[in-house]
């Protein structure tokens, strides 16, 4: 039964060298380490297969990175097993993953660790609980200082967030050129790091500095009220420094974006409104997205800037969803690994944030939510969609607009300031209006778009 799939599992040598388990066999064949699928713990001592050998030959460890990462294979296996409700296999794989994983190891080990947590929660139907625990831990550990430090450092080493910021700011400035009363509605969770450069641009580029009203909508419960209050104060001070007439409103404590109303946002008739959505809509439950976009339309913004991370987590098929999720986070972790210093604390914190998302996406299904209406954590579903998917949604309410050449140049210049590996995809021809993509190595990671009424 354990060999029916006839799998060849590859394990990176230096991982297994630490784990002197005699469950794995290392066959050194043409520099490939193969692990024969081992039986469960019960079977360990039986010799059902003649491939049981203990081998933790550290002399064979070398730094060959196999083309197939062991973690992804194991994890996918496990996901399939869960989907098939193959409990013994589930157990066995979970056990293996547990042995091999570590949140402090290399990318494979980290992925294994965080996804293991999600898979375990899924298998044991304890996703909600796990998520809540993780959230409360994170909540306790978040302070203004730590949040600020984290995000600023992240922006310093990676254009993951600044890409969207630069593109959006450029589009907003162009669209609202000449307006005297600006109202930017910001639905994002980047702690207002997008706005200082916009404020500076308003102060220096225009002949007459317009009045800016900034309404921040916070849905991420981790960004607590205290943190946002401090952020708000800083923004106000900075705007004073820049000499930009400024007004700030922070709407936090919303459980769901659907609770937003025009009045609550403080939308006034004589304002030129810009709606800025960065990584926000993915938190909304999939069914509610359409309604929310319609609501946005009712605000009558002059320009909408929409930035999202590229991934497709909305499939109902668990395995497919799992694979997409794994793919996304593999890229993300790889990016983090190469952007930060190896011992970076910030990197660790970001990875931990991912663990929450992963659990939420994979292990917190609606079936379980129905029972816990009181404990509804609000908008946090984290189910990403691809740019093309968002495009289809937004297209119903808004008309797509391309980014101007100037803005594209700005983004290019931005990417130049970071390490190599980043690139910009600007679709040509008809697709020009469909937004631009940030690419890390071979994969598209972030999508930015702009829309007009």
């Amino acid at each position: 039964m354990y060999h029916k799939e006839n799998q060849n599992m590859e394990i990176s040598p230096y991982n297994t060298s630490k784990k002197k388990t005699h469950m794995k066999k290392l066959n050194h064949q043409n520099n490939n380490f193969i692990v024969q699928e081992a039986s469960t713990i019960d079977m360990m001592h039986t010799s059902s297969s003649n491939n049981h050998q203990t081998s933790s030959d550290s002399s064979e460890t070398c730094h060959h990175d196999q083309d197939g990462k062991w973690s992804s294979k194991l994890l996918k296996e496990c996901a399939i097993a869960i989907s098939n409700r193959d409990s013994s296999k589930i157990h066995h794989l979970l056990w293996m993953l547990n042995e091999l994983s570590s949140p402090y190891g290399d990318i494979d080990q980290k992925l294994a660790s965080y996804f293991l947590q999600a898979l375990f929660s899924k298998a044991t139907q304890s996703g909600q609980k796990c998520y809540k625990t993780l959230s409360s831990i994170a909540h306790k550990n978040h302070s203004f200082d730590s949040s600020r430090k984290l995000i600023l450092k992240f922006q310093e080493v990676s254009p993951w967030t600044t890409f969207g910021h630069v593109a959006s700011n450029g589009a907003i400035l162009e669209a609202l050129e000449g307006e005297k009363k600006l109202h930017i509605i910001d639905i994002s969770n980047t702690l207002c790091t997008q706005w200082p450069t916009l404020l500076e641009a308003l102060a220096t580029r225009n002949d007459e500095t317009p009045h800016l009203k900034l309404t921040i909508v916070v849905t991420n419960n981790i960004s607590s009220v205290i943190v946002m209050k401090e952020v708000g104060q800083r923004m106000e001070k900075f705007a004073r420094l820049m000499g930009v007439p400024f007004e700030l409103n922070v709407i936090s404590g919303l459980k769901h974006l659907r609770e937003l109303t025009k009045e609550r946002l403080g939308v006034q008739e004589d304002e030129a409104i810009a709606l800025n959505c960065v990584g926000a809509l993915r938190r909304v439950e999939v069914e509610e997205r359409e309604n929310l976009i319609q609501f946005f339309k009712s605000l009558n913004p002059r320009v909408v800037t929409f930035v999202e991370e590229e991934g497709d987590f909305i499939s109902n098929d668990f395995v497919k969803c799992f694979e997409e999720c794994l793919k996304f986070y593999t890229i993300y972790f790889d990016m983090l690994e190469e952007s930060f210093a190896p011992t970076s604390n910030e990197k660790l914190m970001l990875e931990r944030e991912c663990s929450r998302s992963i659990v939420r996406v994979l292990a917190c299904d609606h079936e379980f939510d129905d029972n816990d209406d009181d404990e509804d954590g609000g908008d946090d579903c984290e189910k990403r969609e691809k740019g093309t998917q968002w495009f289809e949604r937004l297209k119903n309410e808004f008309s797509p607009s391309g980014f101007s050449d100037d803005v594209v140049d700005d983004v290019k210049a931005l990417l130049k300031r970071y390490q190599s590996g980043w690139s910009l995809i600007v679709p040509q021809g008809d697709d020009n209006q469909k937004g631009i993509y940030l690419k890390w190595k071979e994969e598209v990671v972030v999508w930015a778009s702009t829309w007009k009424p």
Binding site: T204, R240, L241, M242, G243, V244, D406, A413
Partner: protein, 478 residues
């Protein structure tokens, strides 16, 4: 003065508002023509309005013989030599070289009006391109755009080389990360609080001190006094643990006390300064270095000993008027900064743009150092006593404080100094490096005046002052 010419249209250049009728007598007083300020032309000049096409034409100078066009008159003359013209025609037609001024063809432009014409053809060309033209030249590194190629070249040379330094000491090579950092930096939090509190007072101080060379005059004593009181109160603050209100009163009293002593020492005791001042300063300096808290206690408890002499040093020229300022002013950097500017003002009138940037930077280093730790200040004060030259005071402050915590000094100083320098520097594009620092002050000045120091005494005591003494303290901002 109306004449008709082929392509151009000339209007009466006599619209100069000041002297509408007496143009003849309105010659510049000196024989040598002074260079007029841009946009305010010589009223006698001939005003030429070119169409955009003509303006941008690259070959305005045409050879009569063969019709070839040249960009410059000199090039044309060189070319004409090659035609072997007879002597008479070799000479230029001996027109009197009239002064010409040009207006911008763009109707909505300020320079379209003859009274704001520009005197240089190249100048008007560049202006037209910059303001009304398409920005064809792009910087590779930062994607800034320029309409005039020379602007673009000039920028490319300096792009990326400029380093931005935050008040907290971090240096950035990228402007956008600098801006974002600045917005969130702790240094900003205290600094704006203090500056807004002191803005009115300092503004009045500055106006009085502009152009004042004599550093050893009132301004000097004001600066250290302000600083000292600032830092004294910062020293005091941790000790006074009672709630803010109580604290507030206490410290006020203390600072008042200080100023009273200073008042008493109205007579100039410069010699006393040099002799006693040094030793006492060093004593205090040492005390402060060793144990902050205990030295604070010392100052508290023994007003008549070291403190007294200390106050003398700075209290020399202290007038009773300044008491108020002592208590309430928080930003000492402003006056100091102002002095810096004045020095530079006089010595470098014809600041070229890159030079301006670097000077500005140097100045910002110097001025930003004004908010330094109390111990360093005391060191400087010792130097004031011993050395009497103006420049060394500044120089010592500037040079030696570079490694001290430059919290909050920058913006405050820039508030006044840069506004002066802005008027000197003409071209924005060349000052891109300074855009940020330029902008904040000039705009801040009018914003600052809105801020009333409602809680300014509290800010003075509370916010951030502590961080000056304790750079690593997290609670610098409240």
């Amino acid at each position: 003065m109306l004449k008709k010419m082929d392509e151009v249209e000339i209007t009466n250049g006599n619209n100069f508002p000041q002297n509408p009728t007496t143009s003849a007598s309105n010659n510049p007083p000196t024989l040598k023509r002074k260079r007029n300020l841009p946009g305010n032309p010589d009223p006698e000049a001939e005003v030429i309005a070119l169409s955009p096409k003509t303006l941008m034409a690259t070959n305005r100078f045409l050879c009569e013989t063969c019709g070839k066009g040249f960009q410059r008159d000199q090039n044309l003359q060189l070319h004409r030599r090659g035609h072997n013209l007879p002597w008479k025609l070799k000479q230029r037609t001996n027109k009197e070289i009239k002064k010409r001024v040009y207006v911008c063809p763009e109707k909505s432009c300020v320079h379209h009006d003859p009274s704001r014409a520009l005197g240089d053809l190249t100048g008007i060309k560049k202006h037209f391109c910059r303001k009304h033209g398409e920005k064809k030249w792009k910087c590779e590194k930062c994607s800034k755009r320029y309409a005039v190629q020379s602007d673009w070249k000039a920028h490319s040379k300096t792009c990326g080389t400029r380093e931005y330094k935050c008040d907290c000491g971090t240096i950035f090579s990228r402007r956008d990360s600098f801006i974002t950092h600045r917005a969130f930096c702790d240094a900003l939090a205290e600094e704006t609080a203090r500056v807004s509190a002191a803005s009115e007072i300092n503004n009045s101080l500055l106006r009085g001190n502009i152009g004042n060379y004599n550093i050893m005059g009132t301004t000097t004593s004001l600066i250290p006094t302000n600083m000292m009181s600032n830092h004294f109160s910062s020293i005091f603050k941790p000790i006074a643990t009672p709630p803010p209100d109580h604290h507030h009163h206490e410290s006020i009293n203390q600072t008042r006390g200080l100023s009273l002593w200073m008042n008493q020492n109205q007579t100039s005791h410069e010699t006393m300064v040099t002799t006693n001042g040094n030793s006492n300063l060093h004593e205090i300096h040492q005390q402060q270095q060793q144990h902050d808290t205990s030295s604070r206690g010392l100052i508290y408890d023994n007003p008549n000993s070291n403190n007294y002499q200390l106050n003398w040093v700075f209290g020399n020229k202290f007038s009773s008027n300044c008491n108020q300022e002592l208590i309430t002013s928080t930003t000492t950097s402003l006056p100091l900064g102002n002095i810096n500017v004045n020095i530079k003002d006089v010595t470098s009138q014809q600041i070229s743009s890159p030079l301006y940037s670097s000077q500005h930077q140097i100045q910002s280093h110097q001025t930003s150092s004004a908010n330094m730790s109390a111990t360093a200040l005391l060191q400087k004060a010792a130097q004031i006593g011993s050395a009497s030259s103006d420049t060394s005071f500044l120089g010592s402050l500037g040079l030696k404080c570079s490694n001290n915590n430059n919290i909050g000094g920058n913006s405050g100083m820039h508030g006044t100094t840069s506004s002066l320098l802005i008027s000197l520097a003409n071209e924005e594009d060349h000052n891109t490096a300074c855009d940020f620092t330029q902008m904040q002050p000039s705009k801040r000045r009018h914003v600052q005046s809105d801020e009333n120091g409602g809680g300014h005494t509290r800010d003075f005591l509370g916010v951030g002052v502590q961080t000056i003494c304790h750079p690593s303290s997290i609670n610098g901002w409240i």
